[in-house]
């Protein structure tokens, strides 16, 4: 928290200043709780209402009677356990691929410095300048028939995992962190006879835990939130993730079940967020500001 901000401590110290400060704080606290927690409250309680009460006008703020059975019905009918499992499978698979390939690439570009390393880094960063949605069509055509190996990746987890490695932003974050590790530390390891892989495992990775945490969270949340790509590449209902599965079932189930399903689909990322909020928020600003 900044020591000294817009409003001077002298102004805040006066009785009128104190009154204004506290009333503004209370108003903002109430308003923000309403705006940002309100919809979540609506989601959770909406899932408890009967279908009749749900479609009632004007809407009710408190459910007349709670029907937790909506949640279990939605869970069973929409087969949420399968959608949830698929989503976890895609997200953590993508995380594993990114941790192996992107960390290795960033380490090589930062510390091993091969020839053409600068060119490769430049070409990776250049992909950040291409709007992702523009590439969706040629990417889709590519996964229909991957060149050279001639495989169709549609409906397979590879279609999520492999493209997730092309995360230039994570490579950039990792490389910048690795750049800050003093050369002498690695030289000492290599004089002791450690191979580059050994140096990566026992010197670089242990000190890189904070950035690895940030990158991991971004990787998991990115796959969890993605919609357009899984919509195109996972048409088989048995292979869909939560986003696409709920979207395609949305028309066919009662609305109170659907909203219960939404509440359950939101819970995992919210829990991740509440546990790792400090890392997520600091990673967010670390990625955007220099330093």
């Amino acid at each position: 928290m900044a020591e000294r901000t817009l409003i001077s401590p002298a102004q805040l110290g006066r009785p009128s200043g104190k009154f204004l400060y506290w009333s503004a704080l209370v108003v903002v606290l109430l308003l923000f709780t309403l705006i940002f927690l309100g919809p979540l409250y609506w989601m959770v309680t909406g899932g408890l209402k009967t279908a009749q009460e749900y479609a009632q006008s004007p809407p009710t703020a408190f459910p007349h009677s709670a029907h937790p059975k909506n949640y279990s019905d939605a869970w069973n009918v929409m087969d949420l356990s399968k959608l949830l499992f698929n989503t976890l499978y895609y997200a953590f698979g993508a995380l594993a691929f990114q941790l192996v390939f992107d960390v290795a690439a960033a380490y090589s570009l930062s510390k091993l410095r091969p020839i053409f390393g600068k060119v490769i880094l430049g070409m990776m960063l250049a992909t950040l300048m291409i709007p992702a949605t523009v590439l969706v069509v040629p990417q889709y055509l590519t996964v229909l028939d991957v060149p050279i190996v001639h495989r169709n990746l549609i409906n397979s987890p590879w279609v999520i995992w492999l493209p997730s490695v092309t995360n230039a932003f994570n490579i950039f974050l990792l490389k910048r962190f690795f750049d800050s590790i003093p050369r002498e530390l690695l030289d000492a390891a290599s004089i002791d006879g450690a191979s580059p892989l050994r140096t990566l495992r026992s010197v670089v990775l242990p000190i890189s835990r904070p950035i690895l945490g940030v990158v991991s969270i971004f990787a998991v949340v990115g796959v969890w939130k993605d919609f357009l790509w899984p919509l195109l590449t996972l048409p088989d209902p048995a292979k869909q993730n939560l986003n696409v599965g709920i979207y395609s079932l949305a028309q066919g189930v009662p609305e109170n079940w659907l909203i219960a399903a939404l509440a359950m689909a939101s819970a995992p990322t919210l829990i991740i967020f509440l546990i790792f909020q400090r890392n997520i928020m600091s990673g967010l600003t670390a990625g955007s500001l220099k330093g």
Binding site: R4, Q56, P131, P138, T142, L200
Partner: protein, 319 residues
């Protein structure tokens, strides 16, 4: 960086083991070391490079090729600018541009200004700040399907929450997503709620880097709150503000999920058809990949200007 030149004599590689620093008068040794170092360095790179080649670099090239090709009955022919001419003659093209620009304009008005104001206000609080920051960022963590379908209920003209609130306040009820005049604004409102957490936290971090003396100096000159914001806060955060502005332009011009989920993409009389939704339609509804690629290329060229400005600005900030 020492680049090994290709030589015809094969260098026997030393068995792996504790390497001693190589004396300078052993060029063959030095060469073999450099070669081995490069092989292992490229070995570390190969996984990422392959993924980029297949799923990023090759599609980039393919995007450009597709825009000038036509595939019919399995045969691909060059058609020059015909795809571009075709999409330019589609009335939906111009409507999609108008909608995209309207969305970008509204999204900036809300999504650029509101987070900055919120950050300025939050930065003044000595209490509850971490709770407020948590709240603002909460929607960012929700799966977009959840937030969007939730807003769809709020917007429902029959039993939706928003009309319920308007009704309770004795204000005229709205059609929200179902009227051409309010559909886009409704989409923007939902998108802002979903996405503004990131920008707010970034501004907040920038505000906390402003030295307090600057405000003190401004006070000595008799500046009030708004003059202080104008003469200290904004100039001090100018760089991050311009970076975020560019980033938001780039992101909002690519909007897809929000209108797609809220209004089915097109909305009443096509009032929420954006460029990316049009690309989607060309590719996956009309099977016209050439037209989709040509549209993508137009968007790419337009956004490339903003991207280049972003890269230049962020490079300047690193110096």
């Amino acid at each position: 960086m020492s680049a090994p030149t290709l030589s015809t004599s094969s260098t026997p590689s030393k068995p792996e083991g504790p390497d001693r620093p190589v004396p300078a008068h052993a060029p063959r040794e030095a060469f073999s070391r450099a070669l081995r170092r490069n092989i292992s360095a490229h070995g570390f790179l190969i996984g990422a490079v392959l993924c980029f080649s297949f799923f990023s670099w090759y599609p980039m090239v393919r995007e450009v090729l597709l825009a000038f090709q036509k595939t019919e009955a399995g045969k691909t022919t060059w058609v020059g600018l015909r795809n571009l001419r075709y999409i330019a003659n589609d009335p939906a093209f111009w409507q999609a541009w108008r909608n995209t620009l309207l969305f970008t304009g509204l999204a900036l008005l809300l999504g650029f200004v509101v987070p900055f104001v919120i950050a300025i206000v939050l930065n003044e609080f000595r209490h509850g700040q971490s709770y407020l920051r948590l709240l603002v960022y909460l929607p960012v963590m929700l799966p977009p399907v959840a937030s969007v379908l939730l807003f769809k209920y709020f917007y429902d003209p029959g039993y939706g929450l928003f009309n319920g609130i308007l009704h309770a306040l004795h204000l005229p009820e709205q059609q929200w997503l179902q009227s051409t005049s309010t559909a886009m604004l409704s989409v923007v409102l939902a998108a802002t709620w979903m996405n503004m957490g990131g920008a707010t936290l970034i501004y907040l971090a920038a505000l906390q880097g402003i030295p307090g003396e600057l405000y003190e100096a401004a006070e000595l000159d008799g500046a009030g709150i708004f003059r202080k914001i104008w003469h200290v806060t904004i100039p001090q955060t100018r760089l991050i503000l311009s970076l975020m502005l560019l980033m938001q332009i780039i992101a909002t011009m690519q909007v897809f999920a929000e209108p797609f989920l809220l209004t089915g993409g097109a909305g009443p009389e096509g009032s929420t058809t954006t460029i990316v939704y049009l690309i989607y339609q060309y590719a996956f509804n009309f099977n016209n990949y050439g037209g989709a690629a040509a549209l993508g290329l137009v968007l790419l060229v337009l956004l490339a200007g903003f991207s280049a400005a972003y890269v230049r600005l962020s490079r300047d900030s690193d110096d």
